[in-house]
């Protein structure tokens, strides 16, 4: 195959180009992995809760952004609604804490450890909360600041002991930490305040009907069934910082297209005489354009293989160096990038094809 042979002759350039393409692809894979990881982690808390209904303050729609303030009185009202089996009060607020040789922000979640409702989706190390002087940290947060179980963490006017580490609680820009509801209220300074209620419905009751009943009790409430609330949170996660990842990935794709187009154009210029010879000798009309497209696909394919081989070790290294980066890769992401790369390969062939088209067979007679 002429395309491969011309690439192989300049093997050093071929290798450098393939690695350049691989780096661009790794950037895209990485951004997609972050998107995937953060999208998943941002909503895992909601997805893995066993609540049938979430009740927040009117106008609040999700846990990620926006303020919701309710009181114990609202809890009594909800409990009286037909079909409600149990409620779990939860308090969210953001706090800055002193970590070893630094300060950091965390999204504190106050819940009742006796029921466990509203607590971390998964404990990866240590134990759940036993008393008010304990805290459960996100494992990525703990790894980043080298905090171990038993560490005394000063928060506002109190000092809490790290009892356990959780997963599925990393929101990328901030992480969840869990304390008892009473400790949360104490730290905040408002003893009867709450952010939301998780509601469990009685067996046999339709959550949508119960949600409607709760709505009718008070205009103060924003009431969501689990699916709607999950959707709200996913939407919030995806419309926050996430579009920025798409923009960066798009820039990466544009850079890759330009890089590939430039390299292919250089090959066309270098092989100008060869193309003129082949045109003069009677190369079929589609033969020469096919060479450029084949070259583009060979370069892109080589880059993709290198990227796939290097991506897993790179992800491992990034997670090791920066544990709060929540990145999850999948086969579908690789397929998306491969499909994008195919498009890029074809697009980047356009300019070289135009150059090749203007090569005149009479050049060989000069």
């Amino acid at each position: 195959m002429y395309a491969l042979k011309t690439l192989a002759i300049q093997y050093l350039r071929f290798i450098i180009t393939a690695f350049g393409i691989a780096l661009c692809l790794m950037l895209m894979l990485f951004l997609l992995a972050i998107y995937n990881g953060v999208s998943d982690a941002s909503v895992r808390y909601v997805r893995e809760s066993d609540a049938d209904i979430w009740v927040l303050q009117r106008h609040a729609a999700n846990l990620l952004r926006g303020t919701s303030l309710l009181s114990n009185r609202h809890g009594f009202m909800i409990k009286e609604v037909e079909g409600v089996k149990s409620i779990a009060p939860i308090l969210f607020f953001t706090a800055t804490v002193n970590v070893p040789s630094n300060t950091a922000s965390m999204h504190l979640v106050g819940y009742d450890p006796k029921t466990g409702k509203g607590g971390p989706p998964e404990i990866t190390e240590g134990d759940t909360l036993q008393n008010n002087s304990q805290i459960i940290l996100d494992n990525a947060f703990a790894a980043k600041y080298k905090i171990k179980i038993g560490y005394k963490l000063p928060i506002r006017d109190d000092t809490l002991t790290v009892a356990g580490l959780s997963s599925g609680t990393n929101l990328f820009v901030i992480q969840f930490a869990f304390i008892t509801l009473s400790e949360a209220r104490k730290l905040l300074g408002y003893p009867a305040i709450l952010s939301c209620f998780q509601v469990k419905v009685e067996p046999g009751f339709n959550p949508l009907t119960v949600a409607e009943n709760i709505r009718s009790v008070s205009p103060d409430f924003a009431v969501y069934d689990k699916a709607t609330f999950l959707k709200n949170n996913i939407h919030e996660a995806e419309t926050g910082v996430m579009p920025l990842l798409y923009v960066v990935a798009m820039i990466g794709a544009i850079v890759l297209t330009a890089l590939l187009s430039l390299i292919l154009s250089v090959y066309v210029l270098e092989q100008q005489k060869d193309y003129a010879i082949m045109k003069a000798l009677g190369a079929p009309l589609g033969f020469l354009p096919r060479i450029i497209i084949q070259q583009s696909l060979i370069l892109a394919g080589s880059g993709l293989i290198i990227a796939i081989l290097l991506f897993a070790p790179m992800l491992f290294a990034v997670k090791k160096l920066s544990p709060t980066i929540s990145a999850e890769s999948s086969v579908s992401q690789v397929l998306i990038v491969a499909a994008g790369l195919l498009t890029i390969s074809l697009l980047s062939s356009i300019l070289p094809l135009m150059r090749q088209r203007h090569i005149y067979p009479l050049e060989v007679f000069r």
């Binding site: 002429y2 042979k5 002759i9 060869d274 082949m278 000798l281 009677g282 009479l362 060989v364 007679f365």
Partner: protein, 228 residues
Amino acid sequence: MNQDNNIFTAELVEVTKIFSRSGNETVALNRVSFKAERGELVLFLGPSGSGKTTLLTLLAGLQEPSSGEVYIFGKRVQDYSPSSLQKIRASQMGFIFQTFCLLDSLRVIDNVTLVMKFAGIPEKSARRHAAECLERFGIGHLSNAFPGKLSQGEKQRVAVARAIANGSKMILADEPTGSLATEQGMAIIEFLYDSVKNDGISVVITSHDDRISKYADRVLHLRDGILI
């Protein structure tokens, strides 16, 4: 035009070719008429700038005349579609250039095979036939070499093998001895002469080397675009 394409492979009738550049017109060929017959080696002699190469490119259908008619295998060149002309060049014409014009990134055998592939010959039989052609020209042992490793004479033999491998009915050679020592050059012309006599093909050579004359069936002189 005589439509009997059993005799004529190409014909120029009162062909004039004018090149315009920046408003200046240059007459490369002026009312040239010529017929290339099968089994004939025709030599066009003339100094640089006499229009020899222009004549060859017109015979190859690589450009059209400013006036007059060019016939290739009995048909007016303007009546061929681009793809038909491409097929004619690939399957019925062979080209030999002064600078050999081999593809340096391909091995010798691949250079010869490629043109046969252009002519639609399947890869396997193309390779077999290419190997036979290379053997015929005494360079079978160089099949797997790259052109960059060959001597000038060897390169031109490969070019000749490439020109005849696709079963050409007409070979167009532009200064085929121009880059060769006398002995090598004459050996190439002898190869072409043998092909004309053995295979009945038509060979048109343009050159300023009149030592080729002794092999030519006809010698035509070009000067300033005029056949004299």
